[in-house]
Symmetry: C2
Amino acid sequence: MVKLTEEIKESLKGVKTIYMATCSNDCIPNVAPMGAYKLLDDETMLISDQFMNKTMKNLEQNQKVAISYWGEKGGYQIKGVAVVHKDDDVFKEDVEWIKSVMPKLTPKSAVVIRITEVYSIKPGTEAGKKIL
Amino acid sequence: MVKLTEEIKESLKGVKTIYMATCSNDCIPNVAPMGAYKLLDDETMLISDQFMNKTMKNLEQNQKVAISYWGEKGGYQIKGVAVVHKDDDVFKEDVEWIKSVMPKLTPKSAVVIRITEVYSIKPGTEAGKKIL
């Protein structure tokens, strides 16, 4: 378990789209943009699933995920382990949150990611360096 | 082998950053932003490697890649198979191209991706639909 630094949390602010990669048990990668995400705390990210398709199929097989983003204050690659929530309090809270911020959307599940590693994606000698 | 449509090619124009996912042989995904890319033809994408780290380690094990992007004209997920070029004509052409467009950068290798599938990533009922 790692705790995101202030710098990493600042870099996420205002970023509309993050890209989440998953992979199937036969090691075929998939990457899709995600817009409905937020940090639950410094160690945990929530992504609300409205439109996941292959991502969800992959998560049923393999819970490891990688997320990259780049905004006005830079970006990082965050790696973690996902747990999919349906019909529980975590999902209910996700539904309430989406209702308040994107009322036209209907969540199918809530993906909770325990963050395990963070890497630099800054072009240059730091690229790929493990930060956390 | 698939051929990108005009609509897909148009959507790529002006997109500064695409996100490429790879995965290791033990099925751990990685996703990193790529800025130095272009289509070689309707079936093939070139990504010049200046700063690849884990991406290149994964490509040595597993050549399957997935690329997502979103620009002013929408976006897609492109899947394909990568071949890494060094010390050959493909790499020389890559070096010449980078010299002309981003002269401060020094390519380490040229990643040529044969496009095998294209998926919609448009939010809504089309999300995840196979286009090509």
